[in-house]
Each structure stands twice: as structure tokens, then as C-alpha cells.
């Protein structure tokens, strides 16, 4: 009955009893990860058959007095196989290497470029599985990173999986996210939709954030950083667990994990499944999500290993999309929980904002130890997703929409209680002689994504390692809109204001029914080929790397609505991007290390910047974005204290922004050039073991993120290509603070082992210098140079408790979490208003107090 919790239990036991241990003989050593040589803080060292022992410090080291008669010690740590060492009295055990308890983890770590402390020269924070179990509670996956420097994570609208994360002020399209080394940023827009990955936290083994350019060899859009997620793979040991949790607003969760362990025939299978449902803290944001995870490993022989992993999380959730002003929230009966995106249709609650998605991702990893010096890791993966979100369409679609700031628009149909008035829409649709005036649609956003990632690594000599590989992808995304509900009408006619059919291949008066495509249907295809290489040098205290990558991306757009057959596909549009980076880490001694890294890359503009105006119009000025970044860092490790400090400078040049404006009733497209942003700052994080039972964690991050230039653009008349009038636009952005993420953050945490089985923790997080979001291309008024609304600073308290006990001979753990203990009211997300103040800005309140409880039984 071995299990992951055992280490913790043992550790706790030791903490209580070590004080009483009788001093006899001193034993010391350093515990490290066998695959990376990274020190392992918190590993337990116990005399076999007794409860006496100690825990390794932040530098992995330990020293303790052996009781008489001790013949061997057991060294164990969560996620690693335990190791027994026979003793011959007082001695220095030297470096003790623990091997991972997961099959194939080492290879995945390499492919994912997981950073190693005191070796990889990047600023990094790692969240362990244990920490996720203790602290997650009702939080969304990205929020686990909130106590690490440079991070601003919120629940945004508050729907299940609708959370977002910004890193060093950059939004998700500029944060590389990789699961087991496979990049998952959307191919077309770089965004990461966490709802696609709901349930991921249940099977995450470690979550590492590398700030800045990061250690990844593969080309990623990492301007702000890289989030490197390693999932469970197949467990080396047999067993399983069952968990049941409840939480605020009807939240309920079940989860089951089963592992065969590594069997004699070389096979190992691990399965996890979970189901989560709830009503949501925000009104009408109920949800249901499932997740499944299957990993099958096969050790073919000494040199070959195969792992097949499939992960998926089908879910549906009602959303909150429309933002509001503070005054309107305050004057509403639902207050901060107000949701404007629903009403009652035929007596049933019905949201206009709703999302359903299922994105299974399967990968087959092959690891081949070619010879002593050379190995080849290959991952073939596929992701076939289906789903989309609800929308509204029709000549009078504004019946179903509020203004963007949550005000009732001139056409909005609302009941006296402020709900969307479906009944009146249904009545008018039924009475209309031209079919439904407003309908509910599903915006389909499905895709197929196939990729191959392969990395060959060889030791040139004792100190030099060369690796290189390929990254090949094909992607096809479907974008269309289908009628979901005619809302009382018998049919729908898909025409524009002038009565012309939106699908030129269909008669304007075609009577369309549920399931028919309307408005648009334009698949996009992307072919991607990347080459990467890296040279690593390691000798004694110095480690250094140089890496380069080159990426060719090709985009093609097909438009089945606006073009005649034969003329629907664009030519492939080519973009060449490349990156180069280098860095070095030097360990001054066993306690101090310094590092530096520097990099430059150019990345292809996103799909939507290449094809303009929602048509096959190719942007003649689509430019590569250029990013230059440099960083220095310092680290300190001692037995009781670990501190990291680093400073960064990231300059982002020619940020690609295209905007459409109406001039003389015609659409003009402006491709803004010359927009540069500079993000710089200082980050610090620390851990201090005050006593054996009490530890303190701290973080501070001070950023200065600003636009540092004005942008200019010449317009193109999209409605009349013959028009040669010179229209220019200037974006007055110089000196504006970057919005949407707190530039100053800090965190303080205390963890206390009250007694053997009980651990409590509390965390405080502070967010300051938070400016409201604004679309920089809207800042084209020379007389308006004001900063965006500076939102109120806020701080939140979380508490967690963990209790271990035996139930029917099985190890059980009870977790309890309270987020926002003091029910602080705060605005977490805002869009800047016309007067740059709280009156005109609109956004979302963050959640009030939430709580959850979970029982996990291991077997």
C-alpha cells in the first residue's frame, strides 16, 4: 500500500518526534533528483523501522543524529521511489539520487525543457502536485500560479474554465503553454482557453512557470513566459485513489485514479476520471465537466520505451460575458454576482453566453536510448476538438444584447427584473413576415491538429551536449455559425442590411432552419515546420546554453460564404520566424548562484492579422513581431532559506495591431506600425523554514510595463479598393501603462504543521498598480493622453487545512480550503471607459468568499 501521501505522513511524523531523538551518531548527505541532479527540499530521511529521522533543507542537505542500533535509513519524497541505504555508523552519505516514481517522466521533462534550479539560467517557479492538492480549492488552474512573481490570474467572467492569466503584463497569446512538451497555444490566435483543459489540475504532476524567454528549445510565443505542465504518466507503483469534494454554490466533484504499476511484462497503465458540477458563484453560471486521462506505458527493452497518453475534458458551462459599471452592480439585487447574459425562455433559465467543448489530446511518445551518448525522443500527437459557444444573430440581434458596458441598449429587450426578454422576442419573431428577426446561434470552433515533435540529443564530450529536432504541425480550424434556436420564428433568412444573401452561393430568400450555417463559414489551415537546436555546456559550477530555432508557418483561408466555388481558397501565405537565445548560470558556491540570459526572436503575425476584414483580404503590411529580452538573476540556498531575485527587460517591437474604422460610411482598415512596448521589472521569491513545523513563503514583483512609442497607420478603403485617398491614423500610446494586469504583486504565506496529522496554511496575495484593459488602437485622440483607469489595489486571504487519518486500513486525507476569507469586494477585470474613471469603466468583480472540502482515500 504505497502511495503518494506517504512521504508527507512520514515527514510529519518526524517533525513531531525528532526533537525527542537521542543523539548518538551524526549522518549527513544531500538528496537530489536522480535525473536532473536538482536538490530536493523536503525529502524525508527516516531510520528504517522507526519514526526517527529528519527532512532535507532547501539545498537538499540534511544532518541528524542516529539513534543507537540504526542499521539503515529510508529516503523518500513525493513523486520519487524511496531508497534504502545501509549504514556503517557516522558517515557522510554524499549525494543521494532519488528516481522518479513515474515511468517516462524524465524523458518528458527533457522534451518539455523543464528548468532545473542552479543550472538552467531562467527565472522559474515550480508548483508541485502536493501544493496543488493543498491549495487549489475552488480556484481555477491558472490561479495556482498567483503566488509566483509576475503573474496576474483572474476568473474573468467567472464561468467554469473562463479564467485567464497574464505574465509580466503579457496576455495568454504571448505566454507559451506546453503540456508534456507539446505546445497547446491556439494555432490561429495563440490564445489558451483553460476551459478546454478543465480537469487538468487533477492529473498535473508539476506546473512550472518560466518567466521571460524560458528554456524551451521549441519555438513558442513566449514573450511573457512559458507555463510548462507535466501530467501524470504511468505510475511505477500499483494503487489508486478516490476523492469526493463539495464546495460553495452546489459544487460537487468525484474523482478516481487507478494504476497497475509497472508490471513484469513491461506494461503499465494509469487511468483517472473525474466529474465536476456546480451552480457557479456568479448567477447562472452552472456547469458540468468530465475529465479522463489514460496513460499506457510499455518498456519494450532496455533502449526503447513507449508511452501513450490521452487526455480529455468534455464540459459545458453557462457564462457571463457582458461587463458592467460598478454603479450598476451596486444598484442591482445580485450585486457582484450579477449576470446580464440570461433570461427565462418558456419558463426555463437560458443564457446567451454558453460554451461547450471537448478537446481530446492524444500523444504517443517514443524514447530511444540509441547509445550511451545519444538518445531520441519523439512525440506524435493529435488533438481533435469539437465545440463552440452560443451567439445571437439576425437583423434585430441587439434585442438579445446589452451594450458592452452593461447598459440597456436602445434595442435591448429586458424584462422588468432585468432579464433578457425572450418572450417578447419570440412573439415578434412569430409575428414577423420575414422569418425570425433574432436567433440563437452556435459559433462552431472545432479543429483538427496533428503534430510531430522529435528531439535528438547527443553528448559531444564530457561537457558539451548538442540537441536538435523538428516540430511539424498541420492544423485545420472550422469557423462557422449554426442556427440553434429560431426563437419562435418558422425560419431565418440570412441577409445583410441591403437584403443581399450573406452566403453568395445561396439564394437570399432561402428559408433556413435549426442546424443551418449562417453568417460565415471560413475554415483556416496552418502548416508549420520548425527546426531547433541547442548546445549546452556544463562544467563544474558553470552551465551555459545557446539555442536557435527557425519556423516556417503557412496560412490559408477558405471562405465558403463570400466567394464562389473555385475562388474560395487563398494562396498559402508564408511567414518565417526565428529565435536565438543564450544564457549562463554560475554557481558561486553551494549557496549562491547567478545567471543571465538574453534572446531575440521574430514571430509570424497571427492568422487574423494576416487575413483582414473577415474575408480573404490579405494584409499587405503583415509584419513579424520582434521581441528582445534580457534577464539577470541571483539565487541563494541554505538549509533554512532560499531566495531568488531577478530583473528583466523585454522590448516588444512592431506589435501587430490592425483596426477597422468607419470613414464616410466605408470601412477603412489600418495596420498600425511602430507600436513598441517595454516591460521591465524586478522579481523576488523566498522560502524560510522558521521552525521544523513552520515555514514562510514570500513573493514580490514590481513591474513597469509601458507603451514606449506612438503608432502610425495608413488606411486602406476596404469597401472601395479604387479609393486612393490618403487616410492616416496616429495611435497616441507613448507613455501609457499596459493594462489588464497588476504591475505590482506580492504574496506572503505561512504553513504550519500543528501536530502529526494536521497542517494548516494561510496565504495573502496583494495586487497593485492595476490599470484597466484598453485596446491600444482606440487611443487615436491626440487630446486624450490620460492613463487608463487605475483600479483599486486589493489583497485577498486564503486558508487551507489538511488532515491525514486512517479509514478501514486505508490512508485518507481531508482537505479544506477557503478562498477570500474576509469576503473582500474587489474589481478584478475592467475595460477602460471613455473618461478613464470608475464611472465609465466596466468589468467584473472577483469572487467573494468561496470554500470547498475534499476527502481523498488512497488504496
Amino acid at each position: 500500500m504505497k502511495n503518494a501521501m506517504r512521504g508527507i505522513l512520514t515527514m510529519a511524523t518526524i517533525m513531531m518526534l525528532s526533537i525527542a531523538a537521542i543523539a548518538q551518531t551524526t549522518v549527513k548527505g544531500v538528496v537530489v533528483d536522480g535525473s536532473t541532479n536538482e536538490s530536493l527540499p523536503g525529502a524525508s530521511i527516516v531510520v528504517a523501522g522507526t519514526a526517527s529521522g529528519t527532512v532535507s533543507g532547501f539545498d537538499g542537505s540534511f544532518t541528524f543524529e542516529l539513534p543507537s542500533g540504526a542499521t539503515k535509513v529510508v529516503i523518500s519524497f513525493v513523486g520519487f521511489l524511496s531508497k534504502e541505504i545501509a549504514l556503517k555508523g557516522a558517515q557522510d552519505l554524499g549525494t543521494i539520487k532519488l528516481e522518479s516514481d513515474a515511468v517516462g517522466l524524465k524523458e518528458v521533462s527533457v522534451m518539455a525543457s523543464v528548468a532545473i534550479n542552479r543550472q538552467t539560467p531562467v527565472a522559474v517557479s515550480t508548483i508541485s502536485q502536493t501544493l496543488i492538492a493543498e491549495k487549489l480549492g475552488t480556484q481555477e488552474f491558472p490561479e495556482m500560479l498567483k503566488s509566483t512573481p509576475g503573474v496576474y490570474a483572474t476568473k474573468a467572467g467567472g464561468g467554469y474554465g473562463d479564467s485567464r492569466i497574464n505574465l509580466r503584463g503579457f496576455e495568454s497569446e504571448n505566454i507559451g503553454v506546453m503540456i508534456n512538451g507539446v505546445p497547446i497555444n491556439g494555432m490561429e490566435n495563440g490564445k489558451v482557453y483553460w476551459s478546454n483543459w478543465a480537469g487538468l489540475s487533477d492529473v498535473t504532476r508539476s506546473q512550472q512557470v518560466q518567466r521571460g524567454l524560458g528554456a524551451s528549445k521549441v519555438a513558442t510565443p513566449a514573450v511573457g513566459g512559458t507555463i510548462n505542465i507535466l501530467t501524470n504518466s504511468t505510475d511505477a507503483k500499483k494503487g489508486g485513489s478516490f476523492a469526493y469534494g463539495i464546495g460553495n454554490n452546489g459544487m460537487e466533484k468525484q474523482m478516481l485514479t487507478l494504476s497497475t504499476g509497472l508490471m513484469d511484462n513491461g506494461w503499465a497503465v494509469t487511468f483517472s476520471g473525474s466529474r465536476t458540477k456546480g451552480d457557479g458563484w456568479v448567477k447562472s453560471t452552472d456547469f458540468e465537466g468530465w475529465s479522463y486521462f489514460l496513460s499506457v506505458g510499455k518498456q519494450i527493452n532496455e533502449d526503447h520505451r513507449l508511452t501513450f497518453t490521452v487526455f480529455g475534458a468534455p464540459q459545458w458551462h453557462n457564462q457571463r460575458y457582458t461587463r458592467g459599471t460598478i454603479e450598476d452592480y451596486e444598484n442591482h439585487q445580485d450585486g457582484a454576482r450579477r449576470n446580464l447574459d440570461y433570461g427565462f425562455k418558456n419558463g426555463e433559465r437560458f443564457n446567451t453566453a454558453y460554451n461547450f467543448y471537448h478537446k481530446p489530446q492524444a500523444s504517443l511518445n517514443h524514447y530511444w536510448q540509441i547509445n550511451e551518448k545519444t538518445n531520441l525522443s519523439t512525440s506524435v500527437y493529435a488533438s481533435i476538438s469539437e465545440g463552440g459557444g452560443r451567439g445571437t444573430d439576425g437583423a434585430d440581434k441587439y434585442w438579445l444584447r446589452y451594450d458592452k458596458d452593461g447598459k440597456v441598449g436602445s434595442s435591448t429587450r429586458v424584462t422588468a427584473d432585468g432579464y433578457i426578454d425572450y418572450d417578447s422576442v419570440i412573439a415578434d419573431n412569430a409575428a414577423s413576415l420575414s422569418g425570425s428577426r433574432a436567433v440563437i446561434t452556435n459559433s462552431v470552433n472545432s479543429h483538427k491538429w496533428y503534430g510531430l515533435l522529435s528531439n535528438l540529443s547527443t553528448d559531444l564530450n564530457e561537457n558539451l551536449k548538442l540537441s536538435g529536432g523538428i516540430d511539424v504541425r498541420y492544423y485545420k480550424g472550422e469557423h462557422s455559425s449554426k442556427i440553434d434556436d429560431l426563437l419562435g420564428g418558422d425560419y431565418f433568412v440570412d441577409v445583410d442590411n441591403n437584403g443581399k444573401s450573406k452566403n453568395i452561393n445561396r439564394a437570399a430568400n432561402t428559408k433556413l432552419k435549426k442546424g443551418d450555417k449562417i453568417y460565415y463559414d471560413n475554415p483556416g489551415e496552418i502548416m508549420w515546420g520548425g527546426l531547433f537546436s541547442q548546445l549546452e555546456y556544463q562544467k563544474d559550477a558553470l552551465s551555459a546554453f545557446v539555442s536557435a530555432s527557425v519556423t516556417e508557418s503557412q496560412y490559408r483561408r477558405t471562405d465558403k460564404f463570400q466567394y464562389l466555388p473555385g475562388n474560395q481558397k487563398t494562396a498559402w501565405q508564408d511567414f518565417l520566424g526565428y529565435s536565438a537565445k543564450a544564457g549562463a548560470n554560475y554557481n558561486l558556491n553551494e549557496q549562491h548562484n547567478v545567471f543571465v540570459n538574453v534572446g531575440y526572436f521574430e514571430k509570424a503575425p497571427f492568422f487574423n492579422s494576416v487575413f483582414l476584414n473577415y474575408a480573404n483580404d490579405i494584409n499587405p503590411d503583415a509584419e513579424n513581431e520582434k521581441v528582445y529580452s534580457a534577464e539577470v538573476g541571483y539565487g541563494f540556498r541554505s538549509n533554512k532559506l532560499s531566495v531568488n531575485v531577478n530583473g528583466y527587460y523585454t522590448k516588444w517591437m512592431d506589435k501587430s495591431i490592425a483596426t477597422t474604422t468607419t470613414i464616410r460610411n466605408e470601412d477603412w482598415r489600418f495596420n498600425v506600425l511602430g507600436l513598441d512596448a517595454l516591460h521591465m521589472g524586478v522579481e523576488m521569491d523566498m522560502r524560510y523554514q522558521i521552525t521544523d513545523a513552520l515555514s514562510l513563503t514570500g513573493m514580490a514583483s514590481i513591474g513597469n510595463w509601458e507603451w514606449v512609442s506612438n503608432g502610425t497607420a495608413n488606411g486602406v478603403n476596404m469597401d472601395n479598393k479604387e479609393d486612393k485617398t490618403l487616410e492616416t491614423m496616429t495611435i497616441y500610446s507613448d507613455g501609457l501603462k499596459v493594462g489588464d494586469a497588476a504591475q505590482t504583486t506580492a504574496a506572503l504565506g505561512l504553513d504550519y504543521q500543528v501536530f502529526k496529522n494536521l497542517k494548516v496554511g494561510m496565504d495573502y496575495n496583494y495586487y497593485g498598480d492595476l490599470y484597466a484593459y484598453f485596446n491600444v488602437s482606440d487611443r487615436d485622440n491626440a487630446n486624450d493622453l490620460s492613463q487608463a483607469w487605475k483600479m483599486p489595489d486589493y489583497g485577498l486571504f486564503d486558508m487551507n487545512v489538511k488532515y491525514n487519518f486512517m479509514i478501514g486500513g486505508l490512508n485518507a486525507t481531508l482537505y479544506g480550503n477557503v478562498q477570500n476569507v474576509f469576503d473582500t469586494e474587489y474589481f478584478s477585470d475592467a475595460t477602460d471607459g471613455s473618461a478613464h474613471d470608475w464611472k465609465t469603466s466596466y468589468g467584473f468583480y472577483g469572487f467573494g468568499r468561496t470554500a470547498s472540502m475534499r476527502l481523498k482515500i488512497n488504496f
Binding site: 460598478i326 458592452k404 460610411n665 466605408e666 485622440n781 486589493y794
Partner: protein, 437 residues
């Protein structure tokens, strides 16, 4: 353990008391709770007139003799006791403006006319007055040289040998005015020995009113009234006349007035001549009514409710189009877009119902969009309100115009002008704005 308690307490003390939204909430409260200011609209009901009492109760309306300003302040005080200063109510009420005086006179005249015999001269009659050059029978008419007054006394004596004193006759004859023959009707009276022209004349119609009398074809064109060539209680004229005028005078312009004369079967074998006045209003021929709906704004002040002559108006698509057309006619057609619905001088756009206030959408000669919109509204006001008045009851009249400004999003603004000279050709002076509504 104590150490931990201290640390925890410190945590709690430092952070728990913080309420990030505190300052904003105070401001929110100031905005909403302290004052109960609203802009309302209200239409008086029959019960309201009854509550008001006096003449308004009797007639269920106000009039020049019982003006609304005398009654409404007190009424609003009772109706909205809790509204705070600077609230406003737009009150819609019935106003008796009286019937048309000239219409009564004209109908009286018609009645008189109906009682008098009439005679229209025939060719034989002219011939009987002589057919030589210089005599009526030559061209069968009179003219400035061959005067009717010279011939008619003798002609009538011969024609009506049995006439008695005070007999009256309407005589219609042809008169050559130098270019054409016109019919002239005159009234002649017999004093027992001679016929003389009386001084009776048709009463004058109100200024700008055109008289039209329905003829048989007109009744026929209306269907059932064509059966007897009249209206009746079952074929009420108000059901037909508005439509009829629209068909008959398709090119009439806004504000044209017609006095329509028609026959009405009153029952008991009596058919009367009656009349209604119609005015072309917003493309429809509207009958004159003695009682009309009026809307006035009242403002709550420290001294109670006061009549506020301020004109509040929100611009619609037609209004933006007026500016577009103004630019076309007075500034330059090159400022218009290809659809003719938007102009880039002031930035008015009737398609999107807005001023496009993004730079580049108004002329560069304006320093700011505010200047452009101010100039645009100033040009528009005299077109929109040609009959604007500068003062009502000694109070200056302000025009508060609400418009939509589009830059990156649609925002409603208000701009205020003061009428400094009453219409026609009124003049307006900029007061303040634009400010976000």
C-alpha cells in the same frame, strides 16, 4: 505556538481591514442615494383633470383662459412629492385652442348663398344685350370696357318681371380679364324699381388656405359617397377626406392647408354644405381639431415646479440627414460619401445615426470634434426649428440636443444652445457642451 499566533494576528490586522472598493462605494452612494432626481414623462388622465377641478375639470383640457401653468405646478407637487430639485417631468395634456373663426363665417356665408336664387348668364342672354362690336353678344362676355354694371340692371328687369322688393339674386357671368374668361359671381338686390349690385362678398379665408369644393367625380372616386354625391353619418367625411386629399393633391407640400367643402346628408331629406380644414402634416392630411395634445416640461426647483420652456430633442436619422444635405448645399458636395448619407465636414452620418467624431471624419479646419459638432448643430437648429421662440413667459428658451458620437464606441452626448431670435429665421447661440449624457 505564541509566535505563530502573533504572526497570524499581524496578518489579520494588516490586511483584513482593507476594503479596496471603499472610496468608490462612497462616491456611488453620492451618485444615487442622496438625491432622488429623475426625468419623467406623464400624460394627464380624465381623473387628473377631475382632481385639478375648475374649468379643466369641466372641459377635461386646459386653454388660454385656464392655462396649464396655473394648475400643473400644484398638481405635480401632489403627484411627485418626493422628487428632488432638478427633476423634470414632461407633461402631456389636452389644450383647447378653439374652433376656426373663418370657418364659421364661411359656412354662414354658404348658408346665405343657399337661400338665394342664382342665375348664370347664357349665350342667348349675352346676345340679347346686342351682338355688335362693343356689345356683350359679340364675344358672349363682359370686360373692362363692356361693364356688367351697365347691362345687368336692364337685363335683370326684363328677365324677372315679377320680382318684388328685396328679392336677391346671385348672378354669375363671364368676364374677360385680358387673357381668359373667368366666372364672376355677384349679388344683386331689387328695391322695387331697380336692380343694384349689393355689397355682399364672400368672407375671406384664412391666410394660406385654399378652398376646394368636392364635385361629383370626387365623390365617385371615393366609392359609396358617390352614390348620392354626399357624405352622411354612415359615410362620415373624416373617414374619406384625408385619403382623398392625398390622392387628389399628390404634390402638395408640408404645411399646405385646404378648406374642403362637401355635401352632408343630415337626415330628413336635408343635405347641407359643410367644411373642414386639413393641413398636410408629416405627409398626412390632418383635420383641424379644436383640442390638441401639448407637451410641456416642468422643472423641480427650490421654489417648486416651474414651467421649463427648454426644448429637449434627441437627433434621429432624418436630423443627421438634414446636416448632410446642408453640407451638400452649403459647404461642398465633395464632403459626402457615395451613398449621400454621411458627410465628413461636421461628421454627421444618417446611416449610422451619429456624428463620427473620430479624427479624420470631420474637416481638418476644426481643431477638435467638439468644434465640428458644435458648428454642425448650430447650422442644423434653424432648419429643424424654423419657428423657434426666444422666450416663453419671459424665460429664455434653451435647446438641449442629444446626439450620438461615435469614436470607438457609441456615446450619447448633449449640447445646449439658446434661441436668441425667434423664428422665422431664428438664431441660436452656443451655451455649453458637448458633455457625455
Amino acid at each position: 505556538m505564541k509566535k505563530i499566533l502573533y504572526i497570524v494576528s499581524l496578518f489579520a490586522l494588516v490586511f483584513a481591514g482593507c476594503d479596496p472598493m471603499e472610496d468608490i462605494y462612497k462616491d456611488v452612494d453620492k451618485l444615487s442615494n442622496d438625491n432622488n432626481v429623475h426625468s419623467l414623462e406623464y400624460t394627464l388622465t380624465a381623473d387628473d383633470y377631475s382632481d385639478i377641478g375648475g374649468d379643466p375639470k369641466k372641459y377635461e383640457s386646459f386653454s388660454a383662459y385656464a392655462p396649464a401653468t396655473d394648475y400643473l405646478p400644484e398638481f405635480l407637487d401632489g403627484k411627485y412629492p418626493t422628487l428632488d430639485v432638478s427633476s423634470s417631468v414632461k407633461v402631456t395634456y389636452d389644450f383647447y385652442r378653439g374652433s376656426l373663426n373663418y370657418l364659421g363665417d364661411y359656412l354662414d356665408y354658404l348658408e346665405v348663398l343657399a337661400a338665394i336664387d342664382s342665375y348664370t348668364l347664357t349665350t342667348a342672354d349675352y346676345d340679347s344685350m346686342g351682338t355688335d362690336q362693343g356689345q356683350p353678344g359679340k364675344y358672349n362676355n363682359f370686360d373692362s370696357g363692356i361693364k356688367a354694371s351697365d347691362y345687368l340692371p336692364n337685363f335683370l328687369l326684363a328677365k324677372y318681371p315679377n320680382a318684388i322688393e328685396n328679392d336677391e339674386l346671385a348672378v354669375t357671368y363671364k368676364f374677360y380679364n385680358g387673357s381668359a374668361n373667368v366666372d364672376i359671381t355677384e349679388f344683386w338686390v331689387f328695391d322695387g324699381s331697380v336692380w343694384t349690385k349689393s355689397d355682399k362678398v364672400a368672407p375671406e379665408l384664412a391666410e394660406g388656405v385654399t378652398l376646394y369644393e368636392l364635385v361629383a367625380d370626387d365623390y365617385d372616386s371615393m366609392g359609396t359617397p358617390g352614390k348620392y354625391n354626399n357624405f352622411s353619418s354612415s359615410d362620415a367625411p373624416e373617414n374619406y377626406l384625408s385619403t382623398f386629399l392625398g390622392v387628389k393633391f399628390p404634390y402638395a407640400s408640408e404645411g399646405d392647408k385646404f378648406l374642403v367643402l362637401y355635401k352632408y346628408y343630415a337626415g330628413g331629406g336635408v343635405t347641407e354644405t359643410r367644411a373642414k380644414e386639413y393641413t398636410l402634416t408629416d405627409g398626412t392630411w390632418m383635420e383641424y381639431t379644436s383640442t390638441v395634445a401639448k407637451t410641456d416640461q416642468y422643472l423641480k426647483t427650490a421654489n417648486g415646479w416651474l414651467f421649463d420652456p427648454t426644448v429637449l430633442y434627441t437627433m434621429g436619422a432624418d436630423d443627421y440627414l438634414m446636416i448632410v444635405n446642408y453640407v451638400k448645399d452649403n459647404v461642398g458636395a465633395e464632403y459626402l460619401d457615395s451613398y449621400g448619407t454621411a458627410e465628413a465636414y461636421y461628421g454627421s452620418n444618417s446611416y449610422y445615426v451619429e456624428f463620427n467624431i473620430g479624427s479624420g471624419n470631420y474637416d481638418a479646419s476644426f481643431a477638435t470634434w467638439q468644434d465640428a459638432v458644435t458648428a454642425g448643430v448650430k447650422a442644423y437648429l434653424p432648419l429643424k426649428f424654423p419657428e423657434a421662440v426666444a422666450q416663453v413667459d419671459g424665460v429664455d428658451v434653451n435647446y438641449v440636443i442629444t446626439f450620438a458620437g461615435y469614436e470607438s464606441s457609441m456615446v450619447d452626448y448633449t449640447i445646449t444652445f439658446k434661441c436668441t431670435k425667434s423664428g422665422p429665421n431664428p438664431e441660436f447661440e452656443y451655451v455649453e457642451g458637448p458633455t457625455v449624457k
